[in-house]
């Protein structure tokens, strides 16, 4: 090392708007994640197993149009769920925990960036990354099925494509709050990753055990929740066993309080607690 005999030079460029800076965080997360071997490997494997085979089979086999039931069942498949949980665990594990462990959270919060902006950037980065699995391939599948259909009702098929867009977004949005919350309560990304996976896994086991006594317990299963919320998004009838109020309440509990927890954790870190 050693210093070059150069002086300090000022910078006179124009600054970007404050409320757009969270996009820098989101952009950085996407770039960093797609360079990660584990994430990339699971994304490719999952895309091939979950999406590419159905895309080929369903678009090659004779079909009259794209139906909401077909897409709902495709997105409610167990393999889709497993790969999604694994990818969420991989993506979210270090999003907050690493910033807390390395103290780089101090640098974020000393910038012209509110805690809300920081959180929004992390959430958006995770959303975009997870949507590489939950949104883009299902959209490709639905479009492929639509363009190869034998029937002429394209309007109905494109409605399902639009619903698939919403369902893909929702699939990512549903899991990320828990991933971020677990990442915010530990400094170790391994714990956060395993914790996120185990959280959903344990919920499924608990739901399976208690469903023996009452079918209402099935709503505790994230797989069932995802299936039922997709049913709503695709405008299909919910099963008679499903209590809509409880469904709404559990979805709320798994999405809003975890994000509030992350917000509070970051606020506390900001003042050095």
């Amino acid at each position: 090392m050693g210093l070059n005999p150069i002086g300090y030079k000022p910078w006179n460029g124009k600054r970007t708007e404050h409320n757009r800076r969270f996009l820098v965080i989101a952009d950085s997360i996407l770039r960093q994640k797609i360079k990660g071997i584990w994430f990339l490997g699971m994304l490719i494997l999952g895309t091939f197993i979950v999406h590419v085979l159905p895309l080929i089979l369903r678009s090659m086999s004779p079909h009259e149009g794209l139906s909401a039931i077909m897409m709902r069942d495709y997105l409610g498949d167990g393999l889709f769920f497993i790969f999604e949980v694994i990818l969420v665990a991989l993506v979210c594990s270090d999003l907050i925990s690493e910033d807390v462990r390395s103290n780089s959270i101090t640098l974020y919060l000393s910038r012209a960036l509110r805690v809300e902006g920081y959180l929004l950037g992390k959430w958006l980065g995770a959303m975009i990354t997870i949507c590489l699995f939950t949104l883009i391939p299902p959209l490709a599948v639905s479009i492929a099925i639509t363009v190869t259909q034998s029937g002429s009702d394209y309007l109905s098929s494109f409605t399902v494509v639009g619903q698939t867009f919403l369902a893909g977004l929702w699939s990512a949005a549903f899991f990320i709050p828990i991933g971020l919350a677990i990442s915010s309560i530990t400094r170790k990304k391994t714990y956060a990753g395993v914790g996120t996976f185990m959280f959903f896994f344990i919920l499924m086991i608990v739901a399976t055990i208690f469903t023996e006594f009452s079918t209402g317990w099935a709503l505790l299963s994230p797989l069932e929740l995802l299936y039922d919320t997709h049913t709503v998004i695709y405008g299909l009838e919910l099963s008679a066993d499903v209590n809509q109020a409880i469904l709404g309440a559990i979805v709320f509990i798994l999405t809003v309080p975890p994000l509030l927890l992350v917000y509070l954790r970051i606020m506390r870190k900001g003042v050095g607690k």
């Binding site: 002086g7 910078w11 820098v24 390395s102 780089s104 101090t106 910038r111 900001g270 003042v271 050095g272």
Partner: protein, 304 residues
């Protein structure tokens, strides 16, 4: 400028009617651990809400214009804060963009500031592999990448070797020369003495002393350093009388020579007479300038 700022964490009074006026140039913020230095910096950055009091940073109030203030501020934290997975260049670019620079601006600017802080090809390596000195340089680079007008440097020479420390102080001097306000917090008082033009001493959340470095160091013009020689017995009786008659700050003896630092606002003739009476020779008698350490210790004692 801060006036009568009170910051409270539950039952702990972190800043107690804290009032300071910070001029341009390099300003030292001194104080023991837990004195309130970091709380003051966090209050300016809007991370901590004061209970009462006013803060004015280049005409802006952190409670109302926190984002505008943060755009004008660069912060180098004391502890490690680097993103391990990024290289030095990526990290400086990233935080430049978070400070409002476009990607097109932040990449060349990051190279420029990394050149300035003296980080060469290492900038392409992940920061996790950096030495302490390199980390300090990257921390400084990310703080100045967006050209802030105010810079907070928390222990900038922490963990650096003597050469690295000298270079860091030189960098601070260079940055200050471009009309910036730099607030440096450090425990290494020799470093502060070299680089600061103004000093604020803080203890228990209050400002216990502040002023220009020159005015603080020259505040005690009656302090004298005297070297005397003589037999051990003569030296002992002489030093006992000095101890009785004057406020003595330090005394040391080595190879029959005694160094005494004491306060004397009277004449030198009286000292000479006293030395003659005890059969000791006065070898030197010079005004003794206070060090920043003396000022710091005195301020702490006065406050206690």
């Amino acid at each position: 400028m801060a006036s009568d700022v009170i910051v409270r964490f539950d039952n702990i009074l972190a800043l107690d009617n804290f009032s300071v006026s910070i001029p341009r140039g390099v300003v030292g913020l001194l104080g023991p651990n837990g004195a309130g230095k970091s709380t003051f910096i966090k209050t300016i950055l809007g991370l901590v809400e004061p209970v009462s009091g006013d803060i004015d940073i280049v005409g802006l109030d952190p409670r109302k214009d926190v984002m505008s203030i943060r755009d004008r501020v660069g912060y180098m934290p004391e502890h490690d804060c680097l993103v391990d997975s990024m290289s030095g260049l990526e990290m400086v670019t990233y935080f430049g963009r978070l400070s409002g620079m476009t990607k097109e601006d932040s990449i060349p600017r990051s190279h420029e500031v990394l050149d300035f802080v003296g980080l060469g090809e290492e900038r392409y390596r992940p920061t996790a592999s950096y030495s302490t000195g390199m980390k300090q340089r990257v921390k400084l680079a990310q703080a100045i990448v967006h050209d802030p007008s105010i810079l907070f440097l928390d222990e900038p020479t922490n963990g650096m070797d003597p050469l690295g420390r000298e270079e860091m102080l030189e960098l601070i001097g260079k940055i200050a020369a471009s009309d910036k306000s730099i607030l440096v917090s450090s425990h290494i008082l020799q470093d502060m003495e070299k680089v600061c033009q103004y000093v604020i001493i803080i203890d228990n959340g209050r400002s216990v002393a502040q002023g220009t470095m020159a005015s603080l160091l020259d505040q005690d013009m009656t302090k004298r350093r005297m070297t005397v020689r003589g037999s051990p017995k003569s030296l002992q009786t002489f030093s006992e009388q000095i101890h009785r008659d004057f406020e003595e700050t330090s005394i040391s003896e080595e190879f029959g020579q005694m160094n005494i630092v004491f306060i004397n606002d009277g004449s030198f003739a009286m000292i000479l007479d006293m030395a003659k009476g005890h059969d000791v020779q006065v070898r030197s008698y010079v005004p003794d300038r206070l060090t920043l350490e003396d000022v710091f210790i005195r301020s702490m004692k006065r406050d206690a």
